[in-house]
Amino acid sequence: MGFFDKLKRIVNKDKDVFENKDEKELYNKGFEKTRRELSDKLNNLSKKYKKINQDYFEELEEILIMADIGVNTVMGFMERLVDRAKKEKISDPEMLKELIVDELFIIYVNDEILVDKVKYNENGPTVILFVGVNGVGKTTTIAKMAKREKDSGKKVMLVAGDTFRAGAIEQLTMWGDKIGVKTISTKENADPSSVMYKALEEAKKDNYDVVLIDTAGRLQNKVNLMNELDKVNRVIGKLIEGAPHETLLVIDATTGQNGISQAKQFKEITNITGIALTKLDGTAKGGIVLAIKEEVNIPVKFIGLGEKMEDLRVFDIEKYIYGLFSELL
C-alpha cells in the first residue's frame, strides 16, 4: 500500500497520526503558510489542466523548485513521475496528485526504517552536539531541547561551546537560567575544547542525564573552523565513551541549495545523526531536507514550528507530509 492510501485512510477515518489535538493543531498552524502555498498551488494546477501535458509538468516542476527541494532531486523526481504516469496510463491530474505525494515520500523514506528517536546513553550522560552555519538557530534550539528534556524529568546541562560570537555565552546562560538548568561556560575566545573538558567531567561526577553542547556557527568551507570542530568532537569522545551520542545539524528552513553542501561537509567532520530544521513557521518550505535525505542520507529529527519553548517537535515524516498535503486528500 502506498503512503498516500495510508494517509487518506487516516484522514478519512479520522484516526489521527497525532498524539493529541494540541499537537495536530500545532502542526496545522506551524505549517499553515507553507501548506497554503504548496497545496493550493498543486490543487490549482489540477483544476487548471484537464489532462496532463508538457505545460502541466513544467508548472509542477516550478512548484517543487519553489519549495527549495534540490534541483537534482526535482529533476529525478520529474523523470520518475513522467515515467510512472505513462506506465500507469494516468492522464487525469487529480489521479496524479496521489503519485506526487507517494513519490515525494519515497524520496524521503527510500526503503529504510527511519530512526527518528534520539539515541540515549544508558551508561551515563547522553551527549548531544549541535552544529551548523551561522544564524540558523543553534542556541535557541538547544534551549527548546533543554526544556523538553527537563520536562521529561531529566537532569540537563548546557555547555556554552560558542566562545567566538559576541554575546553567545550570555545568550545560552540566560536561557539556562530561564529554564532552570545549569550552563557551563568559560571566557569568550577561549579554546572550546577546554569548556568541553570542564563540562563533561562535571556531568559524569554529578550524574547528569543529558548534556547539550552549543558550538560556534561556522561556514562549512572555512577549513580552520571545521578543524576546530573536529577537535571538539574528538575531545568529547575521549571524555565519555560513545559521545557525542547524537550530533544534530541545525538547518534554517529558508536555506536553499546550499543546505546540501552544509550537510555534506559537516558530515565529513562529525557523525551527523540528524537534522534540526528551524524556522518552519515562516513561509519557507524547508524542501531542501528532501534533497539532503536523498543525496546525503541524513534524516530530520526535530523541527522548529514557532518561537515558543514548546515549539520544537520530534519530526515525523507522516506528520510532515500530512502538514503539507492534508488539503489535497
Binding site: 503558510k33 516550478e62 523548485i65 519553489m66 519549495a67 527549495d68 534541483v71 529533476m75 552555519v133 551561522n134 544564524g135 540558523v136 538557530g137 567566538f164 560570537r165 559576541a166 554575546g167 553567545a168 550570555e170 545568550q171 546562560t173 540566560m174 536561557w175 530561564k178 569568550e188 561556514l219 562549512q220 568551507n221 572555512k222 534554517d252 528552513a253 529558508t254 536555506t255 536553499g256 541549495q257 546550499n258 543546505g259 553542501s261 524556522k279 513557521d281 515562516g282 513561509t283 519557507a284 518550505k285 524542501g287 531542501i288
Partner: protein, 435 residues
C-alpha cells in the same frame, strides 16, 4: 562565492565556443545548462525563466557582425542581462544628513547585529563620520550584550535601555547623538518573520516616527526560493531602501543577488564577506557579474571592440569577404581599426585562456602596423583593388615609395593572400575558430 556558477557557465561556454553561429539547435543545450546553473544557485524560478528567454531571444536575433565570435556575442548578451538583473549602478547610502538614521531589519539569524558593527566601521572609515549603535533587539537574550561587545571592540558608542519600548529607545538615542555630536544612528532591530504581524507593526511604528533615511534588509545569502516572500514581506510594510547580503564568504552561490533587485527593484548596497568587522564591501554589480562569469576580462575586450569598430565598415568588409572580393583597401582598413584598439598585448591578455595558449607572452610591434600602412599607401588604387597585377617593377616602385625593402612588400602580399584564403574558409563555414 559564485564559484560553482562560474564553473558551470564555463562548461557552457566551451560548448558554444565550437559553433560558428548561434542557432536554435546549438543554443538549446547551452540554455539548459544556464537554466540549471541558475536554479542551483537559488535564483528565483520566474527570474530564471525570464532570463533564459531573454538571453535566447537576443542570442538568436543577433546577426553575426562586428567580427565577434558567437561565443563572445553570447557572453556579451549574458553579461548585459545579468547586469540588468543586478541593476546597472552602484547605489550608495544616504550621507548628506545629520544625523543620518539607518535601520537594519531582517529575519532571525540573518546577521543584523554583526552587520551593524561592520557598517559602523565602514562609515567611520569611508566618510570619517561618527556612528552610534542603538540596541532595539529587546527580545533575543543577550542581543544587547552582543552589540555592546562589538561596539567596545570598535570603540563605537552603543545606546541601550534594556527591554524598553523601541520607539522610546530611539527617541532618547537621538537626543544622546545630538548631545554627543554623533552623525549616524544605526538601529539594530530584533529578527522577525515577515509574516509576524505584531513584530512587523513594531517596525512600522519606528518607521512612522523616525522616518529612517535608510531601511536596509539584511538577507542571508544562503536563502532559497523563499527570498522573494521575505523581501516582499518587508518591502510592503517598510519601503526598503536597500538590502545587505551576508555570509557571501561561504560556498553559497548567492542567487538571491539576482532575484532581489530584479523582482523588487530594491538595490543591493553591501555584501558581507568575512566574520571580521571589516568584512563588508559596497556592492558593485559590474564586479559581481565579472565574478559570476569569471572569464578573464573578455567583456572588457568585447566592450572595447564595440566602441571602436565602425559597424558600417565592418558590415561592408564582411559582405566583401563573403563575396570573395576582399582587397588591400579592406586589409588596410582592418589594420587601422586594430590600431585604434591600442596595445595588442593588452588586448590579448583579456582573452580567456590566453595564458594557457601562451598569448600573454606574444610581442607585437606597433611599428609593424605602421610599415604595412606605409606599403599599402604607396600603391595605386588599382593595385590595391587588384594585387595580382603587382609584379617586379611595381614592387620596386612601392618599396621605394614606402621606404621599405622589396622583401617586405613580398611578405605583405603573401600575408594578404593568406588572410584572404582564411576568410574564404570562414565564410564557407569550414573554418573552426581556435577557441
Amino acid at each position: 562565492m559564485f564559484e560553482n556558477l562560474s564553473d558551470r557557465l564555463d562548461n557552457v561556454m566551451h560548448k558554444i565556443k565550437g559553433y560558428g553561429i548561434i542557432t536554435e539547435d546549438n543554443i538549446s543545450d547551452v540554455m539548459r545548462e544556464v537554466r540549471l546553473a541558475l536554479l542551483e544557485a537559488d535564483v528565483n524560478y520566474q527570474v530564471v525563466k525570464e532570463f533564459t528567454n531573454n538571453v535566447k531571444e537576443k542570442a538568436l536575433g543577433e546577426e553575426v557582425r562586428k567580427s565577434l565570435k558567437p561565443s563572445e556575442m553570447f557572453l556579451k548578451i549574458l553579461k548585459d542581462e545579468l547586469l540588468s538583473l543586478l541593476g546597472e549602478d552602484k547605489v550608495e547610502i544616504v550621507t548628506n544628513k545629520k544625523p543620518t538614521i539607518l535601520m537594519l531589519v531582517g529575519l532571525q539569524g540573518s546577521g543584523k547585529t554583526t552587520t551593524i558593527g561592520k557598517l559602523g566601521n565602514l562609515i567611520r572609515k569611508k566618510y570619517n563620520k561618527k556612528p552610534l549603535f542603538v540596541a532595539c533587539d529587546i527580545y533575543r537574550p543577550a542581543a544587547i550584550e552582543q552589540l555592546k561587545t562589538i561596539g567596545k571592540s570598535l570603540n563605537i558608542p552603543v545606546y541601550e535601555e534594556g527591554n524598553n519600548n523601541p520607539n522610546d529607545i530611539v527617541r532618547n538615542a537621538l537626543n544622546y547623538a545630538k548631545e554627543n555630536n554623533l552623525d549616524y544612528i544605526l538601529i539594530d532591530t530584533a529578527g522577525r518573520l515577515h509574516v509576524d504581524k505584531s513584530l512587523m507593526d513594531e517596525l512600522v511604528c519606528l518607521n512612522d516616527e523616525f522616518k529612517p533615511d535608510e531601511i536596509l534588509l539584511v538577507l542571508d545569502s544562503m536563502i532559497g526560493q523563499d527570498a522573494i516572500n521575505v523581501i516582499n514581506g518587508f518591502n510592503d510594510k517598510l519601503a526598503l531602501t536597500g538590502t545587505i547580503l551576508t555570509k557571501m564568504d561561504g560556498d553559497t552561490k548567492g542567487g538571491v543577488a539576482l532575484t532581489a533587485r530584479h523582482l523588487t527593484n530594491v538595490p543591493i548596497k553591501f555584501i558581507g564577506t568575512s566574520e571580521k568587522l571589516d568584512g563588508l564591501e559596497e556592492f558593485d554589480p559590474n564586479r559581481m557579474v565579472n565574478r559570476i562569469l569569471g572569464m578573464g576580462d573578455i567583456l572588457g575586450l568585447v566592450e572595447k571592440v564595440e566602441s571602436v569598430i565602425d559597424e558600417q565598415e565592418a558590415e561592408n568588409t564582411y559582405k566583401k569577404m563573403k563575396k570573395g572580393n576582399f582587397d588591400l583597401e579592406d586589409f588596410l582598413a582592418q589594420f587601422k581599426q586594430i590600431k585604434k584598439l591600442g596595445s595588442l598585448e593588452g588586448l590579448l591578455k583579456m582573452i580567456p585562456g590566453a595564458k594557457k595558449m601562451g598569448l600573454n607572452k606574444v610581442n607585437i610591434d606597433p611599428k609593424d602596423i605602421a610599415r604595412i600602412e606605409a606599403i599599402i599607401l604607396s600603391m595605386t588604387p588599382e593595385e590595391r583593388k587588384k594585387p595580382e597585377i603587382i609584379k617586379a617593377s611595381r614592387k620596386i616602385r612601392i618599396a621605394k615609395g614606402s621606404g621599405r625593402s622589396v622583401q617586405e612588400v613580398n611578405k605583405l602580399l603573401t600575408q594578404f593572400e593568406e588572410s584572404k584564403k582564411m576568410m574564404k574558409m570562414f565564410s564557407n563555414g569550414s573554418f573552426k575558430l581556435p577557441f
